[in-house]
């Protein structure tokens, strides 16, 4: 783990020397090699700034590190590495490596909103966690996770089907992508009542927004815009 920010300058001053004498004993060889890497590449203060400049991430600066978010987190019960407080801590320190090591955890937020709801400092924790995750994705530091694949699939389905979505369409798209498995038994349980009530037909062909093509164009144009919290 990288060393705290405050100690960085002290240690930097020491490790830049080729030769160090401590208590009359000269240290030589590769004494500083393990420290150089950690002190010089471990932190990137621009991470905090960049996240605080996004709409979702702006409240990161208000965090007190009290841990209220993590103590009530739904996901933490399944994944002990999952901790919103820690993600925020690492992002503010600029410890990219630490965040990358948690890449199999950080995407797993189920958006239950308990953290944002309970934060005593008004940090929108769920949004900040997504902002941190988006930072990692945007800079290509982590590979695309199943949650992001599904988010994109959802959005694509909305855009391509007249601005609306149906559970069956989304289910079918997910099965196609290999995300969900549907057995015969599930199929029978699902379709039986739907066929009986006539809902099935509507689900396979959801109604569309009247002027969707034009609206879609505007949304696609708007997506290119950079949004800042102002």
């Amino acid at each position: 783990m990288p060393i705290p920010e405050l100690e960085k300058s002290i240690i930097k001053g020491v490790i830049q020397k080729d030769k160090v004498v401590i208590d009359g004993i000269e240290l030589d060889g590769t004494w500083n090699s393990f420290m150089i890497e950690r002190t010089q590449t471990g932190y990137d203060p621009s991470v905090w700034d960049e996240i605080a400049n996004t709409l979702e991430g702006v409240t990161i600066s208000a965090c007190w590190q009290c841990g209220t978010c993590t103590s009530g987190c739904t996901m933490r019960e399944y994944d002990p590495k999952y901790g919103p407080r820690r993600f925020i801590d690492l992002a503010r320190k600029g410890d990219k490596q630490g965040l990358i090591e948690l890449q199999n955890s950080i995407w797993r937020c189920v958006s239950c909103q308990k953290c944002t709801h309970r934060c005593p400092k008004g940090v929108l924790v769920e949004e900040v966690v997504h902002a941190i995750h988006n930072y990692l994705l945007r800079h290509g530091l982590v590979s695309k996770d199943p949650g992001t694949v599904f988010d994109e699939l959802f959005f694509e389905t909305v855009m391509n089907n007249g601005g609306r979505i149906s559970e069956l369409m989304l289910g079918a798209a997910s099965v196609k992508k290999g995300m969900a498995k549907m057995g015969l038994k599930d199929l029978i349980t699902m379709t039986g009542p739907l066929l009986r009530s006539g809902l099935f037909k509507e689900l396979m062909k959801p109604s569309k927004v009247k002027n969707w093509e034009k609206i879609r164009e505007v949304i696609e144009e708007a997506m290119k815009e950079e949004v800042r919290p102002e």
Binding site: T74, V110, D145, G147, F150, F155
Partner: protein, 305 residues
């Protein structure tokens, strides 16, 4: 007959859910509202609210989708926009929060809304959920007086889901008297008690069902859903009553897998609270679409016929 409601004119935002598998929710809501003399106007040309997914793909798209719906509601002169799906309620409230807080962002969003041919959004809406609407509008005594088929002895577990009252910066729970308790909601409990049902102690009321990751992290979702059902079963509930189509559909469609992994005794019918209200108000199971649910609620309700 029309009843004065504390919200002014109410627009119903159906969301994709009510036009999809949660159609019984809307059909039964219409029956209940008519019986109680409550009116609302349906936004027919709505678009998807973006749910919990679009905001993660693109910030602007995640705001424009709900913002267009808010503008549609203002176009018909509504004072409040009502969602039946807590996911939609969350998403519309989230857009309201961001647009109120950041003026430059609001200008940009409004410019795009005008490009779409919609009106600018003036922030004058209150975002509400069906649960709050039914509870606050007429009072429990009126609801009791409409019951023709008392559900005496029916043991129910009311499941509210995550987003009905969370997070408070968006939904304003705990800040307004018209809103439910932020941690332990009771509005649906009171409505169900008015029908004569017995609400069992249920600590999983606002527990997460794993909704957004039902496909991408299925084992976690199934385990979370099983926990909700276990909690209901342990407290003696016969039926899970939901106000959330996300949770309702997720639990219903995963029921086979839950039963396989965590025990057959967890199998339990799932029903929308408005369906139970319509049924108690004397409507037939077909009218309340109680036969369209994937799990069979009539298996426990037939004794009241």
């Amino acid at each position: 007959m029309s009843v004065e409601v504390p919200y002014g004119k109410v627009a119903l935002y159906p969301g994709c859910a009510l036009d999809g598998m949660a159609k019984p929710y809307e059909v039964s809501l219409a029956l209940v509202a008519k019986d109680l003399g409550l009116t609302y106007e349906r936004l027919d040309d709505y678009n998807c609210c973006g749910a919990l997914e679009v905001k993660n793909v693109n910030t602007m798209a995640g705001l424009l989708l709900p913002a267009r719906n808010l503008a549609l509601a203002r176009k018909i002169g509504a004072d409040a926009i009502m969602s039946a799906c807590p996911g939609c309620h969350y998403s519309l409230s989230r857009a309201q929060y961001y647009l109120s807080k950041y003026p430059k962002l609001r200008e940009k969003v409004n410019a795009y809304l005008e490009k779409m041919g919609e009106i600018k959004y003036d922030l004058q809406l209150m975002t509400i959920h069906v649960n709050e609407f039914l509870y606050n509008s007429v009072g429990i005594e009126v609801i009791k007086s409409k019951v023709k088929r008392p559900l005496t002895g029916l043991k129910v577990a009311p499941y509210y889901g995550c987003l009905y009252n969370r997070p408070k910066p968006y939904t304003l729970t705990g800040y307004l008297r018209l809103k439910d308790d932020p941690e332990r909601p009771v509005f649906m409990d009171k409505l169900l008690e008015a029908l004569g049902a017995e609400v069992v102690p249920f600590e999983a009321k606002t527990m997460c069902c794993g909704g957004p990751h039902v496909y991408s992290d299925p084992d976690v979702s199934i385990n979370l859903e099983a926990r909700i059902l276990k909690e209901a079963r342990r407290n003696g509930a016969e039926i899970l009553v939901v106000d959330c189509p996300l949770g309702g559909v997720a639990i219903e469609s995963n029921m086979n897998k839950i039963a396989e992994r965590y025990g057959e005794d967890l199998r339990m019918p799932v029903v929308y609270f408005t369906q139970l209200m319509a049924f108690a108000f004397g409507h037939s199971p077909e009218e309340a679409m109680l036969t369209a649910n994937l799990t069979n609620p009539m298996s426990v309700l037939k004794r009241y016929l």
